[in-house]
Symmetry: C2
Subunit: 113 residues, 2 copies
DNA sequence: CAACAATACTCTGCTCGCCGATATATATCG
DNA sequence: CGATATATATCGGCGAGCAGAGTATTGTTG
C-alpha cells in the first residue's frame, strides 16, 4: 500500500490499543507524538471515513455519554497488518538514513527510551 | 518542520552519502527502498527545487558527460540536521506503534538487518 | 543506417491527504 | 448567563507527489 501520513498513522496506532471514539483520538495522537501533533477535526473525521472504506478501521458502536453522542471505532485485523507494514517501512528507512548520517558524523536525537 | 514525505526523505538520504546528480537519485532511491519506491522525474526535480529554496540541498556544479548535462546536488548541514530530526521522528513513531501491536499480538516484518 | 532504448532534464494537469475555519449541540463552570 | 470543553460534521484551499508528454544526446542492434 501507499505511503501513510502521520495523522493516519497516529490514528491507527491509537486504535491498536483498543476501541476508542473519534474525539478521544485527538488527545491520543497528541500523547503518542509527545505533543508534537494536534489532529485537526477535519483531518480526523475524513481519515476515519476513508479508513472504514479501506476496512482498516471499523465502527464499534455508539454511546451517549452525558447527552453527547460518541461514535466508537476499532482497528481491524487488516488495519493491524497495514500498520505493522508501515512500522517495518519506517524502521527500514530510519536505519538507512541513520547509517549515512553516521558516516557523515551527524548525531540523531535519542528517541528517549 | 512539517512532516517529510518518503520521496523527499529518500532524496536527502541519498545525498547524505555525497554529491550526486539528479537522475542518479532515481536509482539511489530505488536501491535505498529495496526497489519499493521509483521516484517520478516530476517529483524529483520539483523536490530538488523546493529543497534548494529551503536550503536543505545546494547545487554542487554541473558537468557534461558524453554530451549530456548533469546537475549535481549536495546535502547542506541544515539538510543533514533536518534529516536527523526526521529519523528521530520515524524511530519514535515506529517504537510507539510497535509496542501497541505487540500488545495486540501482531508481528512486524523484520527490517532485514 | 534507421529505429529504439537509455540517459538527463523540463513542464503541465491532476489527485489526495491534510489544514484552517465554521457550524451545531450539549454539559459544565464561574 | 456567558465561556469553555466535549463531540461530530462540512467546506474551501494548499502542497507534495503522480502520470504523462516533451526535448536532446548517446549507445545499441537488427
Amino acid at each position: 500500500m501507499a505511503e501513510m501520513r502521520e495523522p493516519t498513522f497516529l490514528i491507527l496506532t491509537a486504535l491498536a490499543e483498543g476501541r476508542k471514539h473519534g474525539y478521544a483520538l485527538i488527545a491520543e495522537a497528541s500523547a503518542l507524538s509527545g505533543g508534537r501533533v494536534t489532529l485537526k477535526v477535519g483531518t480526523l473525521y475524513a481519515a476515519l471515513e476513508r479508513l472504514q472504506e479501506q476496512e482498516l478501521v471499523a465502527a464499534a458502536g455508539e454511546e451517549v455519554i452525558d447527552g453527547r453522542l460518541r461514535r466508537y471505532y476499532k482497528l481491524t485485523d487488516a488495519g493491524a497488518h497495514e500498520l505493522a507494514d508501515e512500522v517495518a517501512r519506517l524502521e527500514r528507512n530510519a536505519q538507512q538514513a541513520r547509517r549515512r548520517l553516521h558516516g557523515r558524523g551527524v548525531a540523531i536525537a535519542g528517541a528517549g527510551a
